[in-house]
């Protein structure tokens, strides 16, 4: 059925739109965008007071399939995405088995198609089994449809291997997404290094562990001319290094995640494993630097690093707890309350960082925009309503988030994927 979204604030940076308008969806595409559109027979949706965005795209998701279907699957992960307003995700390769060859890439696409709720793309590993030693068959992987290469979860410690991977990936137009962490500097570290790690007697991870690798990777991007994307930027000095690189016109983009602009290391006080994440939550100074990086354009993308973990992996000694937190269901709300209401970003910049730039990074034709002819992936967001995070109502199969019990502001009310309403006011269709 055709859908007519009436009177919302349509924000589409790709076409320079930010105005009250209607959007008509026909046959899975955006048919028309403008004032007072009439469409007999279309399902009319009143979007007054809502923000209509190109469907949100998360370039950093862990759906744990294959291997840890007890923690997340394409179905449960897709439901979490829809509830959070995401229409497209990029899965990381650190599954079991690792997504490091054509066969596993094809398996992921086949299983994702069975779920059939959102657009699921996958990254594939840079090196076989994420070991940092031997390149994966990048040509085969690209042909199978992987959209990026990443050993995410681990750094590629050998700079020569990263260099060759980037040169090779360049032939296929694939970006390399780098998890920047010097494994020697961060060895056995479980939280940010500083006064709090000293007090808690936990091994710290210095900010330099991230920044030295950001700087190294920028130089390799310069050397190779390949597309480099820096994942989950958390440290002040990393933001600055990226700012300088962009001034030098190095081909580099980067992302941060909501936890790096909303939480500090204080969240781990009392050995709260829910706040154990890698890179670790840092200090107020870093949070401010990340926000600055978002507002001045240094940071291109807001991703979630949605990392589901079972209760058994979190309800243990801090040293042994898995790292990561789920994020798909909360990201847009945190962006709304912390960045939009906080005066850091306007909705145009939000649409850029959560849809347009992700689509450009992954080379997704027809996505990241609401202009006529684009894929009808649309997120209708209510910036006013408040809600409280309740573990019992989390869609993700895993409930690992430090936000349980917290009040959030704003929520996705309608999520449309390929012209079909998949989520509307708390209900899945």
């Amino acid at each position: 059925m055709d859908i007519l979204l009436k009177g919302g604030r349509v924000v589409d940076p790709a076409s320079g739109t930010d105005a009250a308008a209607d959007i008509l969806i026909k046959g899975g595409k955006i048919a028309q965008s403008g004032k007072d559109i009439k469409a007999a027979g279309a399902k009319q949706v009143d979007c007054k007071g809502k923000v209509v965005l190109p469907g949100l795209i998360d370039v950093h998701t862990h759906f744990r399939q294959p291997g840890r279907e007890d923690e997340e699957t394409f179905v449960t992960g897709s439901r979490a995405a829809l509830k959070g307003g995401f229409t497209t995700v990029l899965c990381m390769a650190n599954t079991n088995p690792v997504i490091d060859n054509k066969g596993v890439v094809e398996y992921v696409y086949a299983e994702a198609a069975k779920a059939g709720l959102i657009n699921i793309y996958t990254a594939a590993a840079v090196t076989k089994n994420l070991e940092g030693k031997e390149l994966t068959e990048i040509g085969q992987i690209a042909a199978a449809g992987a959209k990026a290469l990443s050993d995410d979860g681990k750094p590629v410690m050998n700079a020569e291997i990263l260099r060759r991977a980037m040169e090779y990936a360049k032939m296929f137009g694939l970006p390399v997404i780098s998890h920047c962490e010097d494994a020697n500097l961060s060895r056995n570290g479980v939280m940010n290094e500083g006064a709090l790690s000293t007090r808690l007697g936990l091994k710290g991870i210095p900010r330099a562990s991230e920044t030295v690798m950001v700087i190294r990777d920028i130089e390799i991007a310069q050397l190779t001319g390949a597309k480099l994307h820096i994942a989950h930027v958390s440290a002040k000095e990393s933001v600055e290094a990226l700012r300088q690189a962009k001034k030098r016109k190095v081909k580099v983009t980067c992302e941060t995640c909501p936890h790096y602009f909303t939480l500090t290391e204080e969240a781990v006080s009392g050995y709260n494993t829910g706040a154990k994440v890698n890179p670790p939550l840092r200090t107020k100074e870093d949070v401010e630097a990340v926000k600055k990086g978002l507002s001045d354009g240094t940071i291109d993308i807001i991703s979630t690093d949605h990392a589901p973990h079972s209760a058994e992996e979190k309800d243990v000694e801090f040293d042994f707890a898995s790292t990561g937190m789920i994020g798909l269901e909360f990201a847009a709300s945190l962006v709304n309350s912390e960045l939009v209401k906080g005066g850091v970003l306007g909705w145009k910049e939000v649409a850029q960082k959560m849809s347009m730039n992700p689509a450009a990074l992954l080379g997704l034709e027809g996505k990241g925009s609401l202009s006529e002819g684009s894929d009808a992936d649309v997120t209708v967001f209510d910036p006013v309503s408040e809600w409280t995070v309740d573990a019992g109502r989390i869609e993700s199969k895993s409930k690992n988030t430090p936000l349980i019990g917290k009040k959030l502001s704003g929520l996705a009310v309608i999520t449309i994927v390929g012209g079909k309403i998949r989520y509307e006011n708390g209900k899945f269709a």
Partner: protein, 312 residues
């Protein structure tokens, strides 16, 4: 002493008030006498079950706790595993819940991970006493050190206490720092920069990398054990280099105050962090620390058990 003991657990000294620490020290005084008696037993904890739950090898601390509990007539169970029982597929919390289901009263816990006793304290009903967690705290060691200092110096407030050695990995250092700073001592920490945790001065201590500076003017010198296996982790070049820079010997002691107390939580690496003549010398109170450890642990068991009857 108006303050009453209200805590189910003893997890660390950081979270205790000055009054609570003073209460433990005062209670320790009453218990010390019991160990001097020919029959070293009081019925205070009769009918109570105490579990010693040790995930790390320990002789001194475990024996000290065991004797403390036995001298108070508690029933004791020892659970000692070389590593976390996670290797058997059971989580720490599940193991603790099983122990809880056996209706025990107090769990005394030693674990290689910082915060492990905090996890248990949140998860199970019995009282948890931290007998050392990772690099975090070792509260009864801190308390027995402070008790020993107070016995000799009659006060803590205003004393200059130097803690020397591997501060970064030391739970003894952290418990001493919190306790001493709360009671008004001037604490200096000294060790190689590689074994100094970041921003330690925010705990209210002075930092020096010069052992002579730490010795001069100190009323108390607490030498920490250096773990020999740290040598391979590029935390210091060699035992020899460490020993020459940070080991306490007669030569360095020339600048010490005449009534300085030399302490060590044990076990001692003789000739590494401290030479035998100093460890066994006239300033040393190292064995008194061990004796006082039992009294401190009796006091802690008494307080957390909530037993209100008078000591026998």
């Amino acid at each position: 002493m108006a303050v009453a003991w209200k805590n189910k657990d003893l997890l660390d000294l950081e979270s205790l008030s000055t009054q609570e620490i003073e209460l433990i020290l005062e209670t320790t005084g009453s218990f010390k006498e019991i160990s001097q008696r020919p029959i070293k037993k009081v019925p205070t904890l009769r009918g109570q079950t105490v579990v010693l739950f040790f995930f790390e090898p320990s002789t001194r601390t475990r024996t000290s706790f065991e004797l403390a509990a036995k001298r108070m007539s508690a029933d004791i169970v020892n659970i000692q595993t070389s590593s976390s029982s996670l290797t058997k597929g059971e989580t720490l919390k599940d193991t603790a819940r099983n122990i809880e289901a056996m209706k025990v009263n107090i769990i005394i816990m030693r674990h290689s991970s910082s915060g492990a006793p905090h996890l248990l304290a949140r998860s199970v009903a019995p009282s948890i006493i931290n007998a050392g967690d990772g690099s975090h705290e070792h509260p009864t060691q801190g308390l027995l050190d402070i008790f020993t200092i107070k016995e000799h110096k009659k006060k803590i407030n205003g004393l200059n206490v130097s803690i020397i050695g591997d501060i970064a990995h030391s739970r003894v250092a952290r418990s001493n720092i919190w306790g001493l700073v709360k009671l008004g001592a001037n604490v200096t920490v000294c060790g190689p920069a590689t074994l100094m945790p970041p921003e330690i001065e925010k705990l209210g201590v002075k930092v020096t990398y010069d052992i002579n500076e730490a010795i001069e003017g100190a009323d108390v010198i607490n030498m920490l054990r250096i773990q020999l296996e740290r040598q391979g982790q590029s935390l210091f070049p060699s035992i020899r280099d460490y020993s020459m820079s940070f080991g306490l010997d007669a030569e360095k002691m020339k600048n010490a105050k005449k009534d300085v107390l030399i302490m060590h939580p044990g076990p001692i690496n003789r000739g590494v962090e401290i030479t035998p003549e100093i460890a066994d010398g006239p300033y040393s109170v190292i064995l008194e620390q061990v004796t006082n450890g039992i009294a401190v642990r009796m006091a802690v068991l008494y307080l957390v058990s909530g037993v209100k009857e008078r000591i026998g």
